[in-house]
């Protein structure tokens, strides 16, 4: 018999500490849906995705009920659409038709988001990439549940500065096109360096070409659980704190592994990976910033934040890796500002700046995430923010990403409300000095020495 203490601990984690499975994401390859006629291709995509994901939401709900564990999101990721649309791009169709097909699938299956309106251009643009990227603002404005990502750099290839320059403009345009809807377009686009191909988290999820035809990936959450565990050890030293985090991460991840294997069994689809992530939500008590403050910082962003976060991120991985047969995706602590109550407070009280966030991304997953910047920020400045972040990822052989939202018509100090899981974001200060000359040069940042490992 299980011990009563263990049973009650699990129930408490779920009831009071916001423990949940953040997402079950079904990755679906669309390589067999390529057609020279875009309309035919879209029909094939719709048919395949509806067939594969028909029972995804229902299965998620059944598992939720059986194990008593909330599964917040059910999502689908697909092969980067630029690869699929390339064959039909010469026919005069706009790739937006593909986004609309993905939207129709989201509505038909009842999933929260479909990710993969994406292009991989870390070295250069190939056929279809340019068209797809140019169409992102329109695609995101005309759909509500489709997410987009673009990989502009990697440790192996360096950074494609032409793509960096382009993405600054695309992000601005995505925001402008949705200015009457909380600039939400920009919240659905992520610019990556070293993008993982099996990431279950939005907005950056896509299904890489080396993956199974269809697979199930799971993302766990649980900042609230980690914080509650630390609260019990107010006088522990940092070695002991790291141990507590490891043990907690182990338990959280085991639950993800259980749900993932069960979902894969029920859906008859291979199990891909568990993404070991601490993903915060705007709910009180579900914050990564609050964990850092529990460790002993007056406010997130104070000196020492990067060190605490490095320890936290590492301990989560060490605890999680033994709990799961396959770990992948982004795996690390997330620090999305608008989705984390503690981060929002820290920005509002002036302790957390964009520069500090950038430093933090060097030691955690994923990057500058859900950060609202002034509406008049020039595209070149956004590009330069992307370049800085990509450089951190490229040199450290890790994934970094940028998801910033220029709040059209708003200035530093105001707040952009998204609602729901996306929360609300205080408009943060960006450097007023120009990076235009650097961005306009174009070209490529050569791959760093650490790429030459053979």
């Amino acid at each position: 018999m299980l011990s009563t203490g263990d049973i009650l601990e699990t129930i408490k984690m779920i009831q009071e500490e916001n423990l949940d499975i953040r997402t079950i994401t079904m990755g679906i390859s669309l390589l067999d849906c390529i057609d020279s006629d875009a309309k035919t291709s879209c029909d094939k995509i719709y048919e395949k995705m509806m067939r594969k994901a028909e029972k995804l939401v229902k299965t998620g709900e059944d598992i939720e009920k059986q194990y008593g564990i909330p599964i917040i999101n059910k999502r689908i990721s697909v092969t980067p659409i630029s690869i699929i649309s390339a064959a039909s791009s010469a026919k005069g169709y706009s790739p937006v038709i593909f986004a609309k097909t993905l939207q129709k699938v989201a509505e038909g299956t009842g999933v929260n988001y479909v990710g993969g309106y994406s292009a991989l251009v870390h070295k250069g643009f190939s056929a279809g990439d340019r068209e797809l990227i140019d169409s992102i603002p329109e695609a995101l404005a005309e759909t509500s549940n489709v997410c987009s990502s673009v990989n502009i750099g990697s440790t192996k290839a360096g950074i494609n500065m032409d793509a960096v320059a382009l993405m600054g403009k695309i992000i601005r345009e995505a925001s402008e096109k949705t200015a009457d809807n909380h600039c939400f377009g920009a919240a659905k686009i992520v610019v990556f360096c070293n993008a993982p191909e099996d990431n279950p988290f939005m907005a950056g999820a896509f299904h890489g070409v080396g993956e199974y035809d269809t697979e199930i990936n799971v993302g766990v959450s649980g900042p609230g659980v980690v914080r509650a565990a630390l609260k019990k050890y107010p006088d522990a030293n940092i070695s002991e704190i790291a141990d507590v985090i490891k043990k907690t991460a182990f338990k959280i991840t085991r639950m993800g592994q259980l749900v993932g294997t069960e979902a894969s069994k029920r859906l008859g689809v291979p199990f891909g990976i568990v993404d070991l992530s601490l993903a915060p939500t705007p709910a009180v008590g579900d914050s990564v910033a609050h964990i850092l403050e529990e460790i002993g910082l007056e406010s997130c962003g104070a000196h020492g934040t990067t060190a605490c976060l490095a320890m936290l991120n590492d301990a989560v991985k060490k605890g999680g890796v033994m709990a799961s047969s396959h770990v992948g995706g982004l795996s690390g602590a997330f620090i999305p500002v608008s989705e984390d109550a503690g981060m929002i407070d820290a920005v509002n009280r002036g302790s957390l700046s964009l520069e500090k966030l950038e430093a933090m991304t060097a030691v955690c997953s994923v990057g500058l995430d859900m950060i609202v910047i002034p509406g008049d920020t020039p595209a070149d400045t956004i590009s330069a923010i992307i370049a800085d972040e990509a450089a951190i990822g490229m040199v450290n052989s890790k994934t970094t990403a940028v998801r910033v939202i220029p709040a059209i018509g708003m200035k530093e100090g105001e707040t952009l409300e998204f609602g729901g899981l996306f929360g609300s974001g205080p408009v943060m200060k960006v450097s007023p000095f120009s990076s235009s000359k650097f961005i306009s040069r174009g070209g490529r940042i050569p791959a760093p020495l650490q790429s030459l490992k053979n």
Binding site: M1, T4, G5, K65, G68, Q257
Partner: protein, 89 residues
């Protein structure tokens, strides 16, 4: 298939009788019961065999939850695998 029924709340007369009564009504076999007082709260955990359950599992869970609400208690029904995977290596 086995599930864990966890009952948490203020101690009153007849909790065990009520919960086991519902289990019997829907053919869930009670295999083990532990009860304890934790931090002023009554906590009872039951291991039940639900392989011969006469109604749908989720309806059964809802039924117990509703009975708990009537008595001012929280009742959770969860598959035992979640506890095994979290607390055993």
């Amino acid at each position: 298939m086995r599930a864990v029924v966890a009952v948490i709340g203020k101690d009153t007369v007849g909790i065990l009788a009520k919960v086991s009564g519902i289990c019997a009504e829907y053919k869930a076999n009670v295999m083990d019961v532990t009860q304890t007082i934790m931090q002023d709260l009554f906590a009872m955990t039951m291991l039940i065999d639900i392989s011969k359950l006469s109604i749908d599992y989720s309806d059964f869970a809802d039924r117990l939850k509703a009975a708990g609400t009537d008595m001012g208690l929280q009742i959770h029904v969860m598959h035992e695998d979640i506890f095994n995977s979290m607390h055993k290596i």
